[in-house]
């Protein structure tokens, strides 16, 4: 918030710049060119959002419990190996993951969702795990010394205090997810990738830009939504943005 206030000096030139850019784009016919694909944009954006929501919620639904289980003391031996595995998994490019997914499940909606799910699972598990491990020992001692059962300690102390880190993981995961959806066009999953890749193949800049800009817009929107969730759901006492 403070950043905006101090940079008021730059606001006017930026506004003028954006306005001039808009005028230029209008004059060059680019916007009209893009709006030519409006029906496609709406349909594919819908598809894009569906892919993101389904694969993203699956990743959260699986990733959170997995991270929690791995952080429990009794799984400490397994979890070291599991985290190493996940770390290696992170280094595999998302395109490769989609390719592997296709060779496993064929083409279409299901392998797309599966590939996206795998790609966005890793940051969620990793952040949940490290967030929970990072809870100071004295908080846990205090919680168990006070007479909380393991479950109460997890729900009332550990998860709320790791919420910031966990949300950061979800944010990363969904950003990766939205950005990867265009690639699932390549394994027959649809989405805005259809405009981008077709546009590239046909040397049709307007078509490509229509898909690319919409994807960028979606990514930003999702990021803002997750940030808003974090802002509202992380308790004030440990929320750096509400201090």
């Amino acid at each position: 918030m403070k950043g905006l206030g101090t940079s008021r000096f730059f606001q006017l030139p930026v506004l003028i710049g954006v306005f001039l850019l808009g005028v230029y784009l209008q004059r060059s016919g680019l916007i009209d060119g893009m709006l030519y694909y409006w029906e496609d944009i709406v349909y594919l954006t819908n598809q894009h959002i569906q892919l993101t929501i389904i694969s993203g919620s699956l990743a959260i639904a699986v990733g959170l419990p997995l991270g929690i289980v791995l952080s429990r003391p009794r799984f400490i031996k397994v979890s070291e190996w599991a985290m190493q595995g996940l770390n290696i998994g992170t280094t595999i490019p998302t395109l490769a993951i989609l390719a592997l997914s296709m060779s496993l499940l064929g083409i279409g909606f299901v392998p797309s969702v599966f590939g996206l799910f795998i790609a966005s699972l890793l940051p969620i598990v990793r952040n949940t795990y490290t967030g929970l491990l990072g809870i100071p020992a004295h908080l846990k001692e205090s919680a168990s010394g006070i007479g909380m059962s393991a479950g109460q300690m997890l729900l009332r102390v550990e998860i709320p205090n790791a919420a910031n880190v966990i949300f950061a993981g979800i944010r990363t995961a969904l950003a990766i997810n939205v950005g990867t959806v265009p690639l699932v066009f390549l394994i027959g999953g649809g989405g805005l990738g259809e405009l981008i890749f077709t546009g590239i193949d046909l040397f049709d800049t307007e078509m490509m830009l229509a898909g690319a800009l919409m994807t960028a817009l979606l990514a930003i929107t999702v990021d803002i939504l997750v940030a808003a969730c974090a802002f509202l759901m992380v308790p004030r006492g440990i929320n750096p943005s509400r201090a």
Binding site: S142, G145, I146, M148, Q152, P160, N161, A163, G237
Partner: protein
């Protein structure tokens, strides 16, 4: 009442087997504060944590009010024991109100009752509920946080409290204040408290009994006065410090060494009367002048009374400082040194003269303990050595 019966904890470490607590036998009577004292690694914290089973004993028993703790469910056992740790351990995601209400909530009090309790407890430590209930721990100073830590442990009114160096991380000035507050609370609530400390001064101040540990063994378990006046071996002697006689000063109040003044003069009495009364009462240096209500207003010195004529009011000196019967002797000694005085008048709440404290009286009181118990000391030494 907390009873430790042959309590033992053996840790298997990389460097071999370490017995952190070795057949500890002790009993903390109902309503008393027992301080476990010793250098780091002496087993005092291990012993404390075996009481609420954060550390499981290797062998031996812990009994709380006669009930063996190992036969109870650990979770409900802990809910019946207040627990305060050095790092405070307030939950940063909860407001002060929520932090205080945790245990009452866990044991199923209804909402109005635990909310009322939270405000009540805050008032007990002089923090305004209207200001603090809705705050988060990170908005409080260290001293305030530890106050909350203490009242959170008291929330469900547990009969027993365990405190692990609770005031260790607080700056010295605040520590004094919070110690005083805790003692005041304790006098009202009469909990049985086990308290870990490595600070002999804190122990002397807080404890009804002190248990001194070394390398997992209980070396001496006695009242602070006995620990200071009769340390059973060189280790304890070294631990309590060479100024242990001075430390005892804070255990004795003015009331115990007060010489109730029988002879005083008023401002209208002549100096001859004053001299006569000094001689009769055997005062070597001076006599106190009081007003009509018995309040001390000054003193007349013997030298003035022998050499001058007139009445006491004209020739009295102002009293430099006064003490109260509940002051400890350390304060008194400090005042005596500051004002270069060998005696100080003691006044009641209403300012009435109650008597005087003299340096001779103080040294006599401290010395008397040594003389009277010198004979039985030999026997005690054998009795107090840990098995």
């Amino acid at each position: 009442m907390i009873t430790l019966d042959n309590l033992t904890k053996i840790f298997d470490t990389d460097r071999g087997v370490v017995s952190a607590a070795d057949h500890i036998n002790m009993e903390v009577p109902q309503g008393e504060i027992c301080v476990l004292l010793g250098p780091s690694g002496c087993g005092k914290t291990t012993t404390l944590k075996m009481v609420n089973r954060i550390i499981t004993p290797t062998s031996g028993r812990v009994l709380i009010n006669g009930k063996d703790t190992s036969e109870q469910d650990t979770v409900s056992l802990r809910r019946s024991i207040g627990y305060v740790i050095q790092q405070i351990g307030l939950f940063p995601n909860m407001t002060i109100e929520e932090n205080i209400s945790i245990v009452p909530k866990l044991i199923g009090w209804d909402k109005s009752r635990y909310l009322k309790r939270a405000s009540e407890l805050l008032e007990m430590v002089a923090m305004d509920p209207a200001i603090f209930l809705k705050r988060y721990p990170n908005e409080l100073s260290g001293g305030q946080q530890q106050r909350i830590g203490v009242i959170r442990a008291l929330a469900a009114d547990p009969p027993v409290m365990l405190m692990d160096e609770p005031f260790g991380a607080i700056d010295p000035i605040n520590r004094e204040v919070i110690q005083d507050e805790f003692l005041k609370l304790h006098r009202e609530l009469k909990k049985t408290v086990m308290f870990v400390s490595h600070d002999i001064d804190e122990a002397v101040k807080m404890a009804d009994r002190i248990a001194i540990f070394k390398e997992g063994k209980l070396i001496q378990y006695d009242t602070p006065d006995d620990i200071l006046s009769h340390p059973i071996n060189d280790f304890v002697k070294g631990f309590v410090g060479r100024d242990r006689a001075l430390k005892r000063l804070q255990l004795v109040t003015v009331a115990e060494v007060l010489e109730t003044e029988s002879s005083v003069v008023t401002a209208e009495d002549s100096l001859a009367t004053a001299l006569q009364r000094m001689t009769d009462a055997g005062y070597e240096r001076a006599i106190i002048v009081v007003d009509g209500d018995g309040r001390p207003v000054g003193y007349v010195s013997r030298s003035v009374a022998t050499t001058t004529k007139g009445n006491c009011g004209q020739h009295s000196y102002n009293l430099r400082t006064l003490v109260r019967p509940e002051d400890d002797l350390r304060t008194v000694a400090s005042k005596m040194f500051t004002h270069d005085a060998t005696w100080l008048p003691c006044v009641s709440e209403h300012g009435k003269l109650m008597g005087v404290v003299t340096q001779r009286g103080i040294t006599h009181h401290l010395g008397a303990t040594y003389k009277s118990s010198h004979a039985k000391e030999q026997n005690l030494q054998h009795a107090r050595v840990a098995p």
